[in-house]
């Protein structure tokens, strides 16, 4: 595939946004259970959710570059029964909306109002539903790729799990970074988020490595033999039938040297997982906040590369028909 930058940004940014939101929610649960007191919890969750929202918005913005007629997105509900893309298109604004309400509910202290009004802190339900939808959105985004069975590299539960785990890893890292700015600092919530970030980063690393190993073993389902229905050991395309270019060549080939692909793979493992993990750990041990902060930037860079690689490495059976030119 040719990696499209809009899609790289879309998926990584909303991944981080969703992850962040989930992280904050889990932080709140953690705080509630352990009785950790925050200096200004409304500010923390409000601004934190706003921050997650920012990433969601940036992702949404990026997606517009991918679509040629974004305004026709309004038709997108039509295929929610069958199309994961449709589901994503439905879920994304829902998540954004709920996140925004959630953020506001914290920031404007609607909890008290809710409490007075209904005797219940509805922000819990609001955020809880948002978290649920975030998870659905992760699944939807992952399934967009995992459900295309023609990309055998993608067509596996790993794709969804990886999307989820990498989103969580980057989300928790972002949340940890956020917690290590002035406000969350020093509280054990910060530790919780940081260790969770470490945990998800390790998990994402393991899962991504697993999927890489899986992908290395893939036997292509289709062959030139099945593509043209001729059964012979040696078949070679002499020409795809035109020396000019076409959509099928631009969309499904990355056009990079194999060595580039290998380097990107090594680099993204380091940048997405190893380095942020080390930075978080070292930063927290030595209590050097900028080191902790740098972990997020590094990880996002790594995840951009990961997503680039994710696309570039996917091979489509259509390529059997577009291999050679003469």
């Amino acid at each position: 595939m040719r990696p499209a930058f809009s899609v790289i940004f879309l998926t990584t940014l909303i991944g981080a946004g969703q992850g962040m939101f989930i992280a904050l929610f889990s932080g709140r649960v953690f705080a509630y259970m352990t009785g950790v007191e925050l200096l200004d919890s409304n500010w923390f969750y409000g601004v934190g959710s706003g921050c997650a929202l920012l990433f969601m918005g940036a992702g949404l913005f990026a997606s517009f570059f991918h679509l040629t007629h974004p305004s026709r997105g309004i038709y997108a509900w039509q295929r929610w029964r069958s199309s994961w893309l449709s589901r994503e298109v439905i879920l994304l604004p829902m998540v954004i909306g709920l996140m925004a309400i959630s953020a506001m509910s914290h920031y404007f202290r609607w909890d008290n109002f809710f409490l007075e009004f209904s005797g219940m802190d509805l922000t819990w339900i609001l955020s809880g539903v948002t978290v649920l939808l975030c998870i659905f959105l992760f699944i939807a985004t992952g399934m967009i790729y995992a459900s295309v069975r023609f990309f055998q590299e993608w067509a596996s539960p790993f794709t969804v799990i990886n999307f989820l785990l990498m989103g969580l890893a980057s989300g928790y890292t972002l949340a940890a970074v956020f917690a290590h700015t002035g406000f969350g600092r020093g509280y054990s919530l910060g530790e919780f988020l940081l260790y969770s970030a470490l945990f998800f980063t390790i998990l994402a690393w393991a899962s991504r490595s697993w999927s890489l190993a899986r992908n290395r073993r893939i036997q292509p389902t289709s062959s030139l033999q099945s593509a043209i229905g001729v059964h012979h050991g040696t078949i070679r395309q002499l020409t795809r039938g035109f020396t000019a270019s076409s959509f099928n060549i631009k969309e499904f080939f990355h056009g990079r040297a194999p060595t580039t692909i290998i380097w990107v793979q090594r680099l993204f493992i380091i940048l997405s997982f190893i380095l942020p993990f080390t930075l978080l750990l070292v930063g927290s041990w030595l209590n050097i906040i900028p080191v902790i902060h740098s972990a997020f930037g590094v990880q996002m860079l790594g995840l951009f590369l990961e997503r680039w690689y994710f696309f570039a490495q996917a091979k489509h059976p259509q390529n059997l028909y577009y291999q050679n030119v003469a």
Binding site: L238, T243, A244, A326
Partner: protein, 965 residues
């Protein structure tokens, strides 16, 4: 979007539909053009048309993009004073000025020395008119593309069977059981051939392709026989050897219809050694007849003595050697053939062709047995020219087709003679399932038309004494001066290439530049890209076109180019005449030229304008007719010297070959009310009647006239009656060629003709004018160090491109934007490069850089590429950086137009020594990996600018939608 099933395309806009004839190539299919609001909506095949029956090819379907191409020329152009030729700097002028310039220049030449005007035409289909113009003008320096195209095919077959492939005949695939296609990639009969092949395969016919390369047609062959280029003669002779050895030839066909049994004089002392022994003429025979008179002898096996040819009851011998009563040793021609092929065994041919002996023998056996055992008998009664009635027509269903793979070699004439003889001994000529003629063929062997014979035939201010091109029967028909040297600019019909029946326009520029045999003044090129793909030695020829003498004058003083597009050649013109496209003009596919006849009878057709001319473009025919009148050429003016014809349509309706002859360009709807055909008075409503009949006229002969036409009394009398042929006499096939022998005799200082070749050419003529086919290595290969250049390099036609002219077509160019050199992987790897690498291809004459592509479908001794994809930068209205000029390449740079200096001279054309056919495919090269660096082809030329009047295509997108442009 609206529901596509609830709308009709025909409801959108103002719709007009018109029939005309395609000219995206020379096949000339019938098309129906639908216009929407004046734009071409679509072009489809005309289902009623005999040629294509509704189908259309890739080019024909892309006519829209030809019509609306930014490469179109729309203004007459004059080279800017002071600008260098070739730089393409022009100013737009009016037609008046353009014609004025021409009139003045040509008028002067005609009055002083008409041969200083030379006129050559490329892929046109109006040689009857251009040839007539040249003749009327008085210049012998006229030729069309045949010489660089496939004259070997025309001459080799016409001098043997009185007809040819190409446009004059073809394989009857409807009835054939076995089909052997040799050296053909696409050919002129594009759509009909594809249609017939599809049917043939579906019927389970056995299809063999003999070709160093497997592409297009050969792809669907049941058997691919890869052959080393230039060696088909060896293969064909070996097959003949095997067929004669096993007695698989059709003896009765040979004795009845060929000169196989005719006795050849083998008395070495005789002045007519090697000619047929002949008696006095029969009383009703005309001594001046251009037909081969039947006054030869047979050896009768019953009487065991020589008897008159066709003596009643005689049973002629085909084999043996005999002595006439007067002591003259004689042999039947067939025995001569048998002797000839004795040494050409399949084992020997394996070494030459690279084809295993077994494959050669199997081929011969399958042909022979299929021809003999799967005979077709059609219950059609016919009468032969000798009066014998036959109840049936027999066919031996083995059909052949061959084209430039045989023709474009310097040994092509003899290979093609061998093929014609093979077809003859299998008994397949003009018979069902074999080869069949198309009107106006068969013609006598050789045809009657003769060209000028000496300097006295060219006179200032007067038409040429004869047609500029003809068919020599013996040395007396050559066109040479008293020293026996060439008198045509291209040296056609000289001792260098005596049977160059289509001229040698590929040498015209080099000769004119050198002033050899004489300097000329004005060169007119029509529809021919002679500064690029139809020239050999392209780089140097481009230099010659702009080369100046010591006085600073161009060596070729004035060049006029008529083209519809900005070809590479137009840049070298002093005057450019913008032609219309095929959708904008009247044209005729005339019986006087190369009509589109079918096996079942003559067909001719027309083109009518579907669109108005673009810009100031004007049909070249109109230009010629006006110029003819302006110059006062007799055919174009009346008694008072005024223009006789208003324009081309008027000319076509009213012109007659001779006053009152009733023969004109079109055969249909003649006579004052259109009641006559072939012959009849002019009809003012003829165009209209053609239009009403989908733009063609098809005369279907009765079945009994459709076969055996060389000997078919009914057909020959019909043809005589309708002016197709001079006499209704037999056209027996020439297994043994007396015509060739007459030239050989002259070289030996003997024979009936008094003309003798110049000393330096004696050996050449003696060697190559062999009355029987033989195999020799291509001439250039003999003269260079072939070991250093181990590979043959050839081109072939892509089905979706016509020569150089489709790169301006936005759709077709996407199929072939760049060409590659196809190399067998074994060869590439052994030389040290990989698939896709950039490589140098080097011949003794130059080198080009190009990209390689490995292919398993090419014989390892051969490399090949698609023809004419590479372009000069900026030509054809393309961007200077277009892939065609940066990554595409032209093989012609490597091909020399002349042979290395040798005994026959330093300027002998790189052509067949008999016909002057350009030997494109004799090219030998070596290949090696190019140094790392820029991925771009070489050589390169400076980018041409757009000419005035050309649309500049600035947009990134083209979204063609008829009615919105």
């Amino acid at each position: 979007m609206e529901d596509p099933t609830k709308q009709s395309d025909g409801d959108k806009g103002r719709v007009e539909v018109k029939n005309t004839t395609c000219y995206m190539c020379a096949c000339r299919c019938g098309i129906r053009v639908t216009l929407r609001d004046g734009d071409v909506r679509y072009i489809e095949g005309n289902p009623n048309h005999p040629l294509n029956q509704g189908v259309l090819c890739a080019k024909g379907s892309s006519g829209i993009m030809k019509q609306y191409s930014p490469g179109r020329l729309t203004q007459p152009l004059k080279r800017i004073k002071g600008a260098m030729r070739g730089d393409g700097k022009f100013e737009a002028i009016s037609w008046d000025e353009a014609l004025g310039i021409m009139e003045q220049r040509l008028g002067g030449i005609r009055k002083s020395d008409p041969k200083k005007f030379a006129m050559y035409t490329g892929r046109d289909q109006m040689q009857a008119l251009t040839g007539m113009f040249a003749r009327q003008f008085g210049t012998p320096n006229y030729a069309a593309h045949g010489g660089f195209c496939s004259v070997n095919m025309a001459a080799g077959m016409i001098y043997t069977i009185g007809g040819s492939f190409w446009e004059f005949g073809g394989p009857d695939l409807e009835r054939a059981k076995m089909f052997i296609m040799i050296g053909t990639a696409e050919d002129h009969h594009s759509n009909p051939m594809k249609k017939a092949l599809g049917e043939f395969k579906r019927q389970g016919g056995h299809f063999v392709a003999i070709n160093p390369v497997r592409t297009g047609y050969a792809a669907i062959a049941d058997q691919w026989v890869p052959i080393r280029p230039g060696t088909d003669g060896a293969l064909l002779l070996a097959i003949i050897h095997e067929i004669i050895r096993l007695g698989l030839y059709d003896r009765s066909f040979l004795t009845s219809y060929t000169n196989a049994a005719d006795l050849v004089n083998l008395d070495e002392k005789s002045d007519i050694f090697g000619m047929f022994v002949r008696s006095e003429l029969n009383k009703d025979d005309d001594p001046d007849s251009c037909f081969d008179n039947e006054n030869k002898y047979w050896w009768d096996s019953i009487a065991n003595k020589a008897v008159a040819q066709r003596a009643p009851g005689a049973k002629p011998r085909l084999m043996g050697d005999y002595t006439l009563e007067d002591g003259t040793p004689v042999k039947p021609a067939f025995q001569m053939l048998k002797d000839r092929v004795k040494e050409f065994t399949p084992q020997w041919a394996e070494g030459v062709t690279g084809i295993p002996t077994k494959v050669i023998c199997d081929l011969a056996h399958t042909m022979g047995v299929t021809a003999r055992d799967q005979k077709i008998e059609l219950p059609i009664q016919w009468t032969d020219v000798w009066g014998k009635e036959h109840d049936t027509i027999t066919g031996n269903p083995v059909a052949f087709h061959a084209m430039r793979g045989l023709a474009a070699h310097s040994n092509g004439f003899h290979s093609i003679r061998a093929l014609s003889i093979l077809m003859t001994i299998l008994g397949t000529i003009d018979r069902p399932g074999g080869f069949r003629h198309k009107a106006p063929f068969p013609r006598p062997i050789p045809p009657c038309a003769k060209g000028p014979k000496g300097p006295e035939d060219v006179r200032p201010g007067e038409p040429l004494n004869a047609m500029p091109l003809g068919w020599p029967t013996n040395p007396d028909d050559l066109f040479v001066d008293d020293d026996g040297e060439a008198y045509r600019l291209d040296k056609g019909f000289s001792w260098e290439y005596p049977l160059s029946v289509h001229g040698l326009m590929h040498n015209a520029i080099s000769n004119a530049w050198r002033g050899d045999p004489y300097p000329i003044d004005t060169l007119l090129l029509f529809m021919s890209n002679m500064a690029w793909n139809s020239t050999m030695n392209t780089g140097k020829v481009r230099e010659m076109l702009r080369d100046k003498d010591d006085n600073g004058e161009y060596k070729i003083p004035f060049i006029i180019v008529c083209d519809a597009f900005q070809s590479e050649t137009t840049a070298f013109a002093d005057l450019v005449l913008p032609d219309t496209t095929y959708l904008e003009r009247h044209d005729v596919m005339s019986m006087l030229d190369r009509p589109i006849s079918e096996f079942d009878g003559p067909v001719d057709s027309i083109r009518v304008p579907v669109l108005p001319p673009t810009g100031n473009s004007r049909p070249f025919q109109d230009v010629l007719i006006e110029m003819g009148a302006r110059l006062g050429l007799p055919a174009f003016v009346d008694e008072n010297g005024a223009a006789k014809y208003q324009d081309y349509p008027d000319f076509i309706s009213n012109y007659e070959t001779e006053p009152g002859s009733g023969i004109g360009f079109l055969a249909g709807w003649r006579g004052s009310s259109g009641e006559k055909f072939m012959k009849g008075a002019p009809n003012t409503r003829q165009w209209e009647m053609y239009e009403k009949n989908d733009c063609f006229y098809h005369y279907k002969l009765p079945p009994s006239y459709q076969y055996m036409r060389n000997w078919n009394q009914g057909y020959l009398q019909w043809a005589r009656h309708h002016g197709l042929i001079r006499e209704a006499k037999s056209i027996n096939l020439h297994i043994y060629s007396e015509v060739l022998q007459s030239f050989r005799l002259a070289a030996q200082g003997k024979g009936p003709s008094k003309r003798r070749p110049p000393e330096r050419l004696k050996e050449r003529v003696e060697t190559f004018f062999d009355p029987l086919p033989f195999y020799y290595e291509p001439l250039e290969t003999q003269l260079i160090n072939a070991r250093e250049y181990p590979l043959s390099a050839i081109t072939q036609r892509p089905m979706a491109m016509y020569h150089s002219w489709d790169s301006q077509n936005a759709w077709l160019r996407q199929i072939h934007t760049q060409n590659y050199l196809f190399v067998n992987p074994q060869v590439g790897r052994s030389v040290g490069f990989d698939d896709g690498d950039w490589i140098w291809v080097e011949s003794p004459w130059g080198k080009v850089k190009c990209q390689s592509r490995f292919s398993e479908a090419v014989e390892p001794g051969t490399v090949w590429t698609w023809n004419a994809i590479g372009k000069a930068s900026g030509a054809w209205g393309l961007d200077g950086k277009a892939n065609e000029s940066k990554r595409g390449f032209l093989l012609n740079h490597l091909i020399s137009e002349e042979l290395p200096n040798h005994q026959s001279g330093a300027t002998v054309s790189n052509s067949d020594p008999i016909t002057g056919q350009a030997a494109w495919f004799d090219l030998r090269v070596k290949i090696y990996k190019a140094e790392e660096g820029e991925e771009s082809c070489e050589p390169n030329y400076p980018t041409l600018d757009h000419f005035p009047g050309m649309k500049k295509w600035g947009n990134k997108l083209r979204a063609y939608f008829a009615g919105q442009n």
